[in-house]
């Protein structure tokens, strides 16, 4: 593809990798970044297409390391194409797709299917991940080497923990040889039992069974110990409690190869948001106390929590329009992750460069993905946002095929206005091209 060069001029560029946080202009040629000029008015050749970003912020396109899609198996909830449109609308230029599909992505043919479908239908980059065990059954390892060669960027057991310590040890050890990250949610199904929200006074009031924090912390600590034992790369995929962050910090301080993420929901919401049994706030791990949320935000600011993920999880009325205890977990989030993260910036909780780092540079570095920076020669994945633009989330405006947002009616300040993938505009506020 070859068109006129592109210049995004006058914006405030934030690129943590290059240490840029100020007015600059980004030059794009074809699908690559051609350079950054530290001025609002660079000298430009005549035939250049100019995007005036004065008063706006320009940063590397976001990379979301945890996105559930309904394809294959539940296309009525979300396809790879519809998820990619939602991503584009949220400034997300690439995402890791969870293997939690039907069938489970546990072999090379299915990774190929995702890659081909994404190439043919998606607006943004879609990086497949693969199951740790065949069919999530928890007994036989999938073919890590072949899966990686086919394009899988990590292995994960979806929403499950791996119960068998020996199997997990082998998985981490074997994955180490292929430099594959093992990304797991920490969830003890016995301790969580039939719990549906955070254990405590609010659950008791609502008559709902609670999930203690220990249902996350115990398997997390087990995972971390095995990561230390094996020297494998372990990613704690969705943290929700103060003590979880402490545990990750301890292993990081001891130079083990562990990283952590929190979903935007756990950084912005707490258990009181459930109100009168609102099932869109039924998540796994459950929304915790305000104290836990604050601890998550602090850990994010400190870098203990490396990533913010949307944990985009489309659910339709068939799984959400039920009594709380019978509804499915999960909320969509690709379109609102950036705007919700801006709450942390406007509140003064987390500096902007750290937020952009957590949503672009860090996921690129951890999973070895292109993008995450506006360096010369990098792929031109770019988001342009107005950090001061107020807007309200309305169900009808959501691009995602499912509408189970935990931010329905939320008032945000800050919105992505334009998204470029490999130099091509895939979203401008109000429309999605494609």
């Amino acid at each position: 593809m070859s068109g006129p060069p592109l210049a995004i001029v006058g914006g405030h560029v934030v690129d943590p990798v290059q240490g840029i946080d100020g007015i600059a202009s980004v030059l794009v040629r074809d699908d690559k970044i051609a350079g950054i000029e530290p001025t609002a008015k660079p000298e430009l050749p005549d035939a250049v297409q100019v995007i005036d970003a004065t008063g706006k912020h320009v940063f590397p396109g976001l990379i979301d390391a945890r996105v559930y899609v309904g394809e294959p198996g539940s296309e009525y909830r979300e396809t790879i194409a519809s998820a990619s449109r939602a991503a584009a609308a949220g400034g997300v230029t690439g995402f890791i797709m969870m293997p939690e599909t039907d069938p489970v992505i546990d072999n090379v043919a299915l990774v190929d299917f995702v890659t081909r479908t994404a190439r043919d239908t998606a607006l943004v980059h879609v990086y497949p991940s693969a199951a740790v065990t065949t069919g999530f059954a928890g007994d036989a390892l999938t073919e890590f080497g072949l899966l990686k060669a086919a394009g899988a960027v990590m292995v994960s057991e979806g929403k499950r923990s791996i119960a068998n310590n020996l199997l997990l040890r082998h998985a981490m050890t074997y994955a180490r040889d292929f430099d594959l990250v093992v990304a797991l949610e920490a969830h003890d199904p016995h301790l969580a039992a039939n719990g549906v929200m955070n254990e405590g006074l609010i659950a008791t009031h609502l008559g709902l069974a609670g999930i203690p924090r220990e249902a996350e912390i115990i398997p997390l600590e087990r995972d971390l110990r095995l990561a230390a034992l094996t020297g494998g790369r372990y990613h704690a995929a969705k943290l929700s409690t103060r003590d979880s962050a402490k545990a990750v910090a301890y292993y990081k301080d001891n130079h083990h190869r562990v990283t952590g993420a929190a979903s935007i929901n756990h950084l912005c919401l707490n258990e009181t948001d459930i109100g009168r049994y609102r099932t869109f706030f039924r998540l796994s791990p459950p929304l915790r106390s305000e104290e836990d949320r604050v601890a998550m935000v602090e850990a994010l600011a400190a870098g203990t929590i490396d990533l913010i993920v949307s944990s985009h999880d489309p659910q339709d009325v068939d799984t959400k329009r039920h009594p709380f205890s019978e509804a499915a977990d999960g909320a969509i989030g690709l379109e609102t992750m950036f705007a919700a993260a801006m709450r942390l910036y406007h509140n003064g909780d987390v500096p902007l460069p750290r937020l952009i780092d957590a949503m672009s540079a860090r996921p690129a570095a951890i999973f070895g993905l292109p993008g995450g920076s506006l360096k010369k020669g990098a792929r031109a994945d770019i988001a342009i946002a107005d950090l001061e633009l107020p807007w309200v989330v309305a169900e009808d405006d959501l691009v995602s095929r499912s509408k189970n947002t935990a931010f329905e009616g939320a008032r945000f300040t800050g919105k992505v206005l334009q998204t470029l993938v490999a130099g091509r505009t895939v979203y401008t506020s109000g429309t999605t091209s494609g």
Partner: protein, 322 residues
């Protein structure tokens, strides 16, 4: 509108009865007063009023119940309503239809009242948002069972003359009990002093923050109590390792004459039923002179008559023609 004496509609402005948590102490007193008046209807030879003639009440029980459903059925019939029981076991609910779909289907039949029991907390409230008629919560999961708390309150009030200042011990499986939650809310609202007595495995998280005193032994928990409320222990609690055995449970938490002797000599013994004799209560106590368990059943019908009548005709709803 000019200020006037409180009309019935301001005394009880609700369309549904979903939980004790929605009621003020004044509204609770009001319902108890109405129930008091309804007792006599059941005690006379001619037990039928015509006040709800032509109205339709549907009992929708997603969870099997004999006594509560019968009580609601009788209450509706004594008021003159046409009462239908939905046999959920054989209906489409078992075939995967959602609560909301069921609610909308029934709503289209234009009932005046739905009485709903469901095994999930919040399910009755969810259903009430989708229908145009009044809804009474006949028990939702471990959340609330408001008519049980009201009938308990009526039973206590008639025996003790009031609720304020009474020491009420609620004993047993509080964690899984909607009866306990509704009673704690109601008794606290009316100024009683509530205790819960149970092994820690049968208490919900943060129970002490519900405004109750917590005891783990019957001897201390029942000391000087005015009312002893026993809760039913489900057999599956043994399977999930919350208590080791029936034998052990009865030894430490079953109400027998020795344990009851710790309470005041005229303490009331209550149980929402159905009882597990020899598990949470000894027969000698259940059938003994302090037991008001049978009276609770009678008060149940009266309370439900009062609530149904108030929801469907109370205040200015009388004028609202369909």
């Amino acid at each position: 509108m000019a200020k006037a004496a409180p009309s019935p509609s301001t005394r009880f402005p609700h369309r549904h009865l979903l939980g004790i948590g929605d009621l003020s102490p004044t509204q609770i007193e009001h319902l108890l007063d109405l129930a008091e008046a309804a007792i006599s209807v059941g005690r006379q030879l001619e037990k039928k009023k015509a006040v709800l003639r032509g109205r339709t009440q549907i009992n929708l029980f997603f969870e099997a119940s004999t006594r509560t459903q019968s009580s609601f059925e009788l209450a509706g019939k004594r008021l003159g309503a046409d009462v239908m029981n939905m046999a959920v076991g054989s209906s489409s609910v078992k075939k995967g239809e959602t609560v909301i779909d069921t609610a909308m289907t029934l709503n289209a039949m234009r009932p005046d009242l739905l009485v709903v029991r469901h095994h999930a907390a919040g399910a009755v409230e969810l259903l009430s948002q989708k229908v145009e008629c009044s809804v009474i919560n006949a028990g939702d999961g471990a959340h609330e069972h408001p008519t049980q708390a009201l009938l308990d309150a009526l039973t206590i009030r008639r025996a003790k003359g009031g609720l304020s200042g009474l020491k009420v011990a609620i004993c047993g499986d509080v964690a899984h009990s909607r009866v306990a939650r509704s009673n704690i809310l109601l008794l606290n609202a009316m100024g009683a002093r509530v205790r819960v007595v149970a092994p820690s495995t049968l208490l919900p998280a943060a129970v002490e923050k519900l405004g109750v005193e917590v005891f783990h032994g019957m001897e201390e928990g029942l000391a000087d109590a005015d009312v002893v409320m026993m809760l039913r222990l489900q057999r599956e609690r043994m399977a999930s390792a919350l208590v080791p055995s029936v034998r052990e449970y009865f030894r430490f938490f079953g109400l027998d004459s020795d344990k009851l002797a710790r309470a005041k000599p005229d303490a009331l013994v209550m149980h929402p039923g159905p009882m597990n004799r020899g598990v949470e209560i000894a027969s000698a106590v259940a059938d003994g002179p302090q037991s008001v368990i049978q009276e609770q059943v009678e008060m149940g019908v009266a309370v439900r008559m009062a609530i149904i009548e108030e929801l469907l005709t109370g205040g200015n709803k009388k004028a609202a023609a369909r």
